[in-house]
Amino acid sequence: MIEANSLSGPLDPAPEAGWVDAPPRLGFFTDTSVCIGCKACEVACKEWNGVPDSGFDLLGMSYDNTGALTANSWRHVAFVEQPRPAGHRTAPFAGNPTGEAVSPASAAVAAGTAADTGTTPGMPAGQPAAAARMAGGPEFLGMPGAQPPGRGTGPESRTDFRWLMMSDVCKHCTHAACLDVCPTGSLFRTEFGTVVVQEDICNGCGYCISACPYGVIDQRKGDGRAWKCTLCYDRLGAGQTPACAQACPTESIQFGPVDELRERAAQRVAALHERGVPEARLYGHDPTDGVGGDGAFFLLLDEPEVYGLPPDPVVTTRDLPKMWKRAGLAALAMAAAAVAAFVGGSS
């Protein structure tokens, strides 16, 4: 039996975790090309799940004042301002007397902003250079200059612009490292193939935090326990849609059987390519990726790093059988903290 459980490669996770007659795996497909950044998902999630406030700080990361996925924010809408073309759209500022773009510089300033989200590691200050790269897009060359924002004397160059928005969430990995390292059995695989922290069991050891390749899991201060998206496990049991997906005005967050969502996602990418949006690509949909594919995957309009997502996430426990020892975990914790910082400065 033990051999039947794998830690990498494609599989259907619920039967693998001992669920007999499991329903189809359920998940999210988040299509960022139709996201309007309204944050209904953040609010609907908090209202349904009773998630506490995550701080009242102006972060300056465009319209993102949430900052990161934390124990107190299970959906996080990232906003990325970029002086880049968006698909086939007409350049927004063509013909206006504009100078040099400020997006990378503003993002770099905002990345230096730390905020107390009431959680740990929460949202530490990010890396200005990484933030600037995100805002500049792949063509961005190096750090913003020594000049403060807007004081450059460059040519009239800022004609193109796009505003990317993306509602991030726990990926509900096929191979979920958080679950694998959980010593108490608090994190478990549900019959729907999702990954849930059981609040009545979690003892706050924090191993899961360092294990997550996406920097999603986080501990609530004062409580000590780890909290994250449950894909509304209670609603799923009642045959309902998760709160975020139900609220989403533009169907950017789609919920359903993962197989169906993958089909729908493939069609959507094809349609966008046909309509002159070559930058559309999927992220987390591939069952052969480092985490066996995500239960919550995305359609992005830029490189994953731009949204604060690791380009090639690898289940941190793939080699777990070999490295089950304290030292290894410590190393992982450091790696994950770096990822978290990266996310924190993402937008």
């Binding site: 033990i2 975790a17 007999v20 209202e47 059995g185 608090s186 478990f188 009545d200 209670d234 989403c248």
Partner: protein, 189 residues
């Protein structure tokens, strides 16, 4: 709970004897998790409502349990909103259950530096007296040419765009009968 039930409920027992030998799924599910259900399923009743923020008019379902609002979410039947809500609509439960809501009458005397409490019935009576007095003091029967005016410009009101039609109807009816003309709302702003 019998000993057998107790032991069968023990995760390690389930792990060793069940289909989940690594204890990551079925065997790890806690009793609480197994018993979880959506609180909308166990509500005492549900009211079909409309979002109070902008004028799109999104349908809301308001769930109540033990005299408390436990959830407000979009009404999937609505042809306007199809079950969706924006962040404000999604925060409606927070709006109506907010601890910052002022639920008792507060009264500030002239020249006072602090609020004080006041009984609702007393407040209503005091306001009625003040309306009558203001009307008395500022009543205009007719203009200088003797044309009827039937009015007071000593009382004004602002608001109504967040209120119900039935409420606005009574407000306008009462104020008109009192001769109060300066009745306005957000539609002027």
């Amino acid at each position: 709970m019998g000993v057998k039930t107790f032991i069968q409920g023990w995760p390690v027992y389930r792990q060793l004897t069940g289909t989940d030998p690594l204890g990551r799924g079925a065997a790890a599910q806690s009793a609480r998790s197994a018993a979880l259900t959506a609180r909308t399923e166990t509500a005492d009743h549900m009211a079909r409502s409309v979002c109070p923020y902008c004028a799109v008019g999104c349908g809301q379902r308001v769930f109540v349990k033990d005299g408390q609002v436990t959830q407000i979410e979009g009404d999937p039947d609505s042809p306007i909103s199809r079950g969706r809500l924006c962040p404000k609509g999604s925060a409606s439960k927070n709006l109506v259950t907010s601890p910052l809501r002022q639920t008792t009458v507060r009264y500030r005397r002239p020249y006072a530096t602090e609020w004080e409490d006041l009984d609702l019935d007393t407040a209503l009576d005091m306001i009625a007296d003040r309306v009558i007095a203001a009307r008395e003091a500022t009543w205009e029967d007719a203009d200088e040419d003797g044309r009827p005016l039937n009015r007071t410009l000593g009382i004004a009101s602002l608001g109504g765009a967040t209120l119900d039609n039935e409420e606005n109807y009574l407000i306008k009816k009462l104020f008109t009968a009192l001769g109060a003309l300066q009745i306005e709302n957000q539609a002027r702003i």
